[in-house]
């Protein structure tokens, strides 16, 4: 077993690491996460939002492990009889889940999600890379030795590529794909941790829910409509699951998509874009306004040099352009128009007309569906009468009028520079008046 390291955590008490995991945490690539703030420039609105990806990554590992262990203990026979798992496979999967959840955020850019908009396009898919792609590549390129060659790994033979495949959700995971829902899904350890952690640090209660009850009622079941194995909540845990969904809605509307906080996301992206161009204009990168793509070790090494400390230093030196100055002086763009959270088609068209009327005065347009941690209305499977002959899987929304009533937030906002605020508000009022008059 070796030496156990205990790390004090404000959410989970103590998080324990074995020697193998401690070596991984001590790797410089993981230590970089201490220099990536969890919520970017959220401190401009909630001053205590200073926590980082390092502690969140440890927290996700802790929650994912508790979830896995509970399911294994309670549904071990089901996993073997119905889903063909073998006991030794489950032991290996537990390690895979711990490692993958620990390393899932390795690839974050400075200030976490906001700068994800500065990732280059993957030529094979024509879609922008995400931080998960960087995480997966970093694991394979830079952490192979510390993962594969530790004596503790002799029993499991886990390859860096297994973790990379887990993070990318590759089909090659086979039956282990089931556990990916613990790191990326409706009931995942990632959101289970960040809701509680973000609430704790910024001093709001919106993200609170009963994690212990949620884990105690977590299960695996077969969806009768599709014969698929899914993570579900047992009847009795329905209110814990409801609370998780409400917490997501509240945190999205009050924190993650808070109007001023979102303005600082945009300003930080523009400031970093300025810095990237300045740094890369002499390079042979195709897109000099984007982070180097995770396509070779040189690019990955360059990418990892970007962290919050470096960006803060350059902003402080006045090298981040107009948006860097806005960040220094807290003179953010102002929202002059927003649609309802669930807009009608007419609301969306009005937003478009206002944007056209504002013309060059528009600073930026923000849409909830393009933001991170977006609130969607995807359902949670609920297992009724678990263990009984008439056990049945249904959707939580069929039993919960609260969940059934929550719809995806699709709000759009239009921002203008501070000095154009008054003029823009007149334009918005006039456009709205003309539109209503014409109806």
């Amino acid at each position: 077993m070796g030496k156990i390291t205990e790390i004090r955590d404000p959410i989970h008490g103590f998080i324990t690491l074995n020697e193998w995991e401690r070596d991984i945490v001590n790797h410089p690539v993981f230590q970089r996460l201490r220099r990536i703030r969890q919520l970017g420039f959220t401190d401009m609105v909630y001053p205590a939002a200073m926590h980082n990806r390092f502690e969140h990554s440890l927290g996700v590992m802790q929650v994912a492990t508790r979830m896995f262990d509970h399911i294994h203990e309670r549904r071990g026979n089901f996993l073997k009889a119905e889903l063909d798992f073998k006991e030794d496979e489950l032991g290996r999967d537990r390690v895979l889940v711990r490692m993958s959840s620990l390393l899932h955020d390795l690839g974050h850019a400075p200030f976490s999600h906001a700068a994800e908009g500065l990732m280059d396009k993957d030529s094979s898919t024509e879609k922008p890379f995400k931080h998960e792609h960087y995480s997966a590549v970093i694991v394979c390129m830079l952490m192979q030795d510390v993962i594969e060659n530790h004596p503790f790994n002799q029993k499991y033979d886990i390859k860096a590529k297994d973790i990379s495949d887990f993070l990318n959700g590759e089909a090659s995971l086979g039956r282990s794909l089931l556990w990916r829902s613990l790191v990326s899904g409706q009931l995942d350890a990632d959101r289970a941790d960040y809701l509680l952690r973000d609430s704790h640090h910024i001093g709001v209660a919106y993200g609170s829910y009963d994690l212990h009850r949620l884990i105690a009622t977590l299960t695996v079941a077969i969806d009768p409509e599709t014969s698929s194995a899914v993570l579900a909540v047992e009847e009795g845990g329905e209110h814990a699951a409801e609370a998780l969904i409400i917490a997501r809605y509240m945190m999205f509307t009050q924190v993650y998509f808070q109007r001023t906080r979102r303005a600082y996301d945009q300003h930080s992206v523009e400031a970093i874009k300025h810095l990237l161009y300045d740094h890369q204009k002499q390079s042979n990168l195709a897109n000099k306004n984007a982070f180097p793509p995770p396509t070779c070790k040189v690019h990955v090494d360059d990418y990892l040099k970007w962290d919050d400390w470096r960006v803060f230093g350059l902003i402080n030196e006045g090298k981040a352009g107009d948006h860097g100055s806005i960040l220094m002086e807290r003179k953010h763009h102002r929202a002059v128009f927003e649609t309802p959270e669930i807009p009608s088609a007419a609301d969306q068209e009005l937003a478009q007309e206002i944007q056209e009327a504002l013309g060059d005065d528009v600073g930026f347009v923000d849409c909830a569906s393009n933001s991170w941690y977006k609130f969607d209305s995807a359902d949670v499977p609920l297992l009724l009468r678990p263990g009984e002959r008439d056990e049945k899987l249904t959707a939580l929304s069929t039993c919960s009028s609260v969940v059934n009533g929550l719809k995806a937030v699709e709000r759009t906002r239009i921002y203008v520079p501070l000095d154009k605020k008054e003029k823009a508000r007149d334009t918005v009022a006039n456009t709205r008046y003309e539109k209503e008059k014409s109806l």
């Binding site: 959700g169 086979g174 599709t226 014969s227 930026f364 347009v365 995807a378």
Partner: protein
């Protein structure tokens, strides 16, 4: 930095159009079928629908598609009801207002490539159950994953991986789906 309000009419209108076309063809058109049919449209028929599917044990899935369905249900273009039988799931049906957003994306829907793809999709997959669609969508994802990674995909390799991801399907069911998809040239494998 985005400086325009871009309404994804194409995505909304596509869901409405599929709902309308499938109403007379399928009794099984619900949230699962919608995910898998749009996945086919994008992957097999190469229609750019704007979604980004990821693989789960329940097949390829994008939560944005659920949100888009939510919104057009809120607008009254479709109705979504829970099916209270042994299998559960949902049924999506058109309302009288289903055509109200068609005009916003008429150019996309009336484009020959989209029209042909929708016709083929509905004819080939429209009447399948959610279970059958999920097996086939997972198979397509697995086969294309081999292709994308430059690995040789044999029928045995595809069947073995699909069987691990979907252990409640028999070997015969999986093999039949692989052969059927291959005959339609919707997946390729090496003999």
């Amino acid at each position: 930095m985005n400086i325009t309000v871009d309404i994804p009419w194409k995505r909304y209108a596509l869901i409405a159009e599929l709902t309308k076309r499938l109403d007379s063809v399928s009794l099984h058109f619900g949230k699962t079928a919608l995910q898998k049919l749009v996945f086919f449209l994008q992957e097999i028929y190469q229609v750019d629908c704007g979604y980004d599917f990821e693989l789960y044990t329940y097949g390829p899935y994008d939560s944005q598609l659920v949100s888009d369905l939510d919104l057009i249900e809120h607008w009254g273009c479709v109705s979504v009801t829970h099916v209270n039988d042994m299998l559960g799931g949902y049924r999506i049906r058109p309302t009288e207002a289903v055509d109200s957003i068609r005009g916003k994306a008429a150019e996309f829907l009336d484009h020959e490539k989209t029209k042909q793809a929708l016709e083929d999709l509905v004819l080939t997959y429209g009447s399948m159950t959610a279970r059958d669609l999920e097996l086939r969508a997972t198979t397509v994802y697995v086969a294309r994953n081999f292709q994308r990674k430059g690995e040789t995909a044999t029928i045995e390799k595809i069947c073995r991986l699909v069987a691990q991801i979907k252990p409640k399907f028999t070997a015969d069911e999986i093999k039949q789906a692989v052969v059927e998809l291959s005959e339609k040239r919707h997946i390729q494998f090496t003999e």
